[in-house]
Amino acid sequence: MALKIVKGSIDRMFDKNLQDLVRGIRNHKEDEAKYISTCIDEIKQELKQDNIAVKANAVCKLTYLQMLGYDVSWAAFNIVEVMSSSKFTYKRIGYLAASQCFHESTDVIMLTTNQIRKDLSSPNQYDTGVALTGLSCFVTPDLARDLANDIMTLMSHTKPYIRKKAVLIMYKVFLKYPESLRPAFPRLKEKLEDPDPGVQSAAVNVICELARRNPKNYLSLAPLFFKLMTSSTNNWVLIKIIKLFGALTPLEPRLGKKLIEPLTNLIHSTSAMSLLYECVNTVYIDVNTPPLPSLSLSLCLYLSLPPQLCVQKLRILIEDSDQNLKYLGLLAMSKILKTHPKSVQSHKDLILQCLDDKDESIRLRALDLLYGMVSKKNLMEIVKKLMLHVDKAEGTTYRDELLTKIIDICSQSNYQYITNFEWYISILVELTRLEGTRHGHLIASQMLDVAIRVKAIRGFAVAQMATLLDNAHLLTGNMQRMGICEVLYAAAWICGEFSEHLENPMQTLEAMLRPKVATLPGHIQAVYVQNAAKLFATVLKSQEGNTDSTAAQETSQLMIDRLPLFVQSANLEVQERASCILQLVKYIQKLQQKDVEVAEEVSALFAGELNPVAPKAQKKVPVPEGLDLDSWINEPPSESESEDEQPKAIFAKEEPKHSRPRREEVDEKELAKRREARKQEQANNPFYIKASPSSQKVYQEAPGVEHIPVVQIDLSVPLKVPGLPMSDQYVKLEEERRQKERAEKKKKEKKKRKEKRSGRGKKHDSGPESEEDITPAHQVDIVTEEMPEWSIITSYIFIKTKSYCVTVHVCSSRPLADSEKLPVRSHRAAEAPKSPTEDGDATSQEPKKKSSKEKREKKKDKDRDRKVRISTGLFLCLLGNHSHLILVSSGLPGINKCIQKSKLVFCFLPLTKVYDIQGNLQDGSQVVVSVIFENKCDSFLKSMEFNVLDSLNSKLQRPEGSGPHDGLTVPFQLPPGVSNEARFVFTVQSIIMPQKLKGTLTFIVKNEDSSTHEKLDFKLHFTCTSYLITTPCYSDAFAKLLESGDLKCSSVRLEGVNMPFHHLLARICFHHHFSVVERIDSCASMYSRSIQGHHVCLLVKTVSIDAKCDEPTLLGNVLDEIKQTFSQC
């Protein structure tokens, strides 16, 4: 035995150790990979030996190879072996290797539990320390659960070295096993006052991290931290505490007042810059940040700390020669900018100066700040400066950043600061010359937006775009520039749509039909083809006016010659459009040869003006005649919907639900008014949806402006510049224009001086030249009068004025979520996406005018609303907006079999769901099954009878007087190819188990000559999910619910699910009727409620779901179903 050991150690002498390996790799520079692979073979041999020293040496080398990028997970088991060595030296090697390459899905981790537990309780504090360090890197939920207690004991270890490690690792344990937080918290709190500064620091560290996630829960610790802050001398701890207070002060304003003194003391006493910065940052900024800006603002005032003061302090930082301080100063400045833009704006000079800094990090920070400090006056100047930077910039990331910033700055709040759109278009065109940018589409969308909304600019824009198209080869020259060719999309469209402004449409048409175009991406080609047709129409029109008819025919010939290239395109869209247009042109050519005038008719194809429409305009679309939303589509369901029953008030914020009808009431009236107005408008022009005339008020609000004639720039000047324009000249032009204006204005001023000047300068800073003195040269069509207060313009729906209202209505409504199946809301769907919660908030903000009249009307309205809702619930199902609809097809026996084999999914619309908007969870025992019957055969189906074999638990509701086995007649017949929907009400007693009900559908198939009786068997699968109703829940209510302690918990692992986390959430929301309560990174809490009022709470992580519910069986089943959903994907 002894001999064996000696032999082992002699063998070892000739093994490579880590140093030898490193040296070897360095000596084999040219064939490194080969050398390493031989080394790995050696390591594999070494790992097979019994000698633990050899193994440890091998594992140590593997750790090095792992750093070089080699996967060493195959040795995971050997690592565990080395970890369990009794010698500290080897143990340390093992744990190091484990911490470098183990992760949650390493399966050998579960073997380590006992070993780690043993090490944790080792008499040698360094064994324990090494185990703790290692564990902190690879702790899994299982390990956390199993070892939480052991670690908690270690928190009161005699050695501070162990205590501090144990305290720190608790944070990791909390993350993986949140249940441990509650029992461990008192001890953690105790550690804040540990005699050892290291342990104290660790405890502060952990609590700060916890408080970052949920500050509210740690408010109670404020006094303790306050004490620590005044007593501690450890800078690290102080910084953490100050950061913590930064998070707490918004929640508890009184804290801010108390903090001032100790913080000021610190500022004066400390010599550490890091601490000083945090102090300044917290005092001056964190109290200012949301969520309570107004409150903190008043706090600021109360503390007599004007933001100007802190900005001045920051200025000192920024002017410091130390680049780090400069950076941090700018960072802090951007936080202030959010709440007090004005005080930052006065330091524009400094920020602009920073733009010239050699350091990219600092330039990026300064760029961020610029956004908030542009005005009409300085926009051109700032952008000019940025454009210079764009030219100089190296590296695409910074240049892209500049590009997006330029566009952001210019387009912010509806182009508020742009006074000359020709200038802006030129800027955009100049930006297209950037090489290798990814933001082609951004430029393109800006071009489109401006060209459409600023009518006055169209002529200029078209000219510019035509030049772009002509020089398209510059943009598509090499593959690297593919990103930028997106602008051709915009260019082609603008030239086509506004072709009447083109000076030489023929030339542009030719440019658009060049063979080179075929190398562009498909979607751009499609636009080219379509707009070539528009141009063609324009060209024809101009040419037919002339006496020479051959020119027109030549144009047609050009189209016919060039289009076949696109007809061959692999892109379906291009191919389809091209072949369509080609045929059209051929037909036109035929007519031309017969000397028929066609231009009028061709251009009629593309007639109609494009107008921007505000998102809210949807509301104005009248209900088409003949559509009565109040009438029933199907028989009304049984009378069970009394309004009075309220759900149990478990959640604090139920109000939104109740307040919604009120809102509708108001809207109903308003809507009627608007409709009236609209009808009048339409009477004049039946097909026109006009942009409301009041839309241009925005700029006219400023008093005095309307008296100033807008000086028109001589357009011929820029247009004659050959090639692409230079935006710089506009800066000069603009200067001149403004001077002129100013002169004129002065004249007027003199005249008007005696008149009163009320209301002036309220909105803007009045500088030497006040903001509103600068009139824009062009006006943006801004349809804002209907804008909801909270929104900036996010999207526009453009409507060709000719198109019919109803089409718009259907197209523009976004896919409906479950909770939105209401007619009233689908009308408004185009408003803007709003979550139900937000909706509720908005409602509560609305003024509550309640005259007695309205009260009387209220009940009536409610009744009508209810009907509308139900009928539309069905309506939407028919539209196919619900993914769970079943198609029961039938006819031939063969098909029947197929159906029985394939899984049929029935859609359950629990009855309550229809009313859930009204907060009426009123009957917990009913579910409604909506079934869509579709006749897929070519015979006529009639006398359909739907029957289900009732179980003890679930019963089909049959009309009174019928027996328990009678079928229900489906109230319609189905001609071939027609589908219709029927709803069946089931009474369910217990909802905690899923169940399957067998049923049959009998019907008569009627052919021309014969009719046969057919039978179709089916199964109805009542999943537990179908008993859940998506119910929004607020995080505080959610927390209370979890705290209440009457929930049982359970969990499930999601194996092999690799989809993005938000998809995962979306899936759960969609398929299982949950709503997200809160989401932090890749961890989210979700909530749902069953129709019988069970609460189901989920904590979803990427690989597992922890769940709580007051009904364990229900929970188990729901989890099973969720698991199944994910196993199917």
Partner: protein, 192 residues
């Protein structure tokens, strides 16, 4: 929280990598490459903070780095860490290395990656700062090294001898190549 600590040289060769969040090996290498690319093109007299780096990035994260002679020390941290605090921490870490290796240079890191790890483990644990007091750190490291030595005892002696012989025969002996004094004090930052 600290998300990752990377040490690489002026050519981007990794000398120590420590991720506190799981990334597969190839991803780790890609992160190193990208981070090196970002950091290496910056002058020495610019600030020590960097945003971006899509892999390790995310808006809440920042790269904080220091450049000492031939080595870059890069920390990726989220907003719960104080920027200047981390800079000081890097300094503390490097000074500790300097003490433990006696005038540390790149070769020490190359040949004793494991030891550097053990030192780092006393400074940062699981992404959280464990100890900022240099004396405390060196004491703990020393005690553990002594334990290792005493455990080695007789059985380790022959191996050490062989290793010494190997070193003698090779042209490359760490101490002879002075890559540069790593311990460059950073101006204008008061000691932590």
């Amino acid at each position: 929280m600290i998300k990752a600590i990377l040490i690489f040289n002026n050519h981007g060769k990794p000398r120590l990598i420590r991720f506190y969040q799981y990334f597969a090996e190839d991803m780790q290498q890609q992160i190193i490459r990208e981070t090196f690319h970002l950091v290496s093109k910056r002058d020495d007299n610019v600030c020590n903070f960097l945003e971006g780096g899509s892999l390790i990035g995310g808006s809440d994260y920042k790269l904080i780095y220091r450049h000492y002679a031939t080595l870059y020390f890069v920390f990726c941290v989220d907003s719960s860490e104080s920027e200047l605090g981390i800079l000081d921490l890097i300094q503390v870490f490097v000074e500790t290395l300097d003490k433990c290796f006696e005038n540390v240079c790149e070769l020490d890191l190359i040949f004793h990656m494991d030891k550097v790890h053990y030192i780092l483990q006393e400074v940062v644990m699981g992404g959280m700062v464990l100890e900022t007091n240099m004396n405390e750190i060196t004491t703990q490291v020393d005690v553990q090294n002594r334990m290792e030595k005493s455990e080695g005892g007789l059985s380790a002696a022959p191996a050490r001898a062989v290793s010494a012989v190997k070193n003698m025969n090779l042209p490359e002996i760490p101490r002879n190549i002075n890559i540069g004094d790593i311990n460059i004090k950073v101006p204008s930052l008061s000691p932590f």
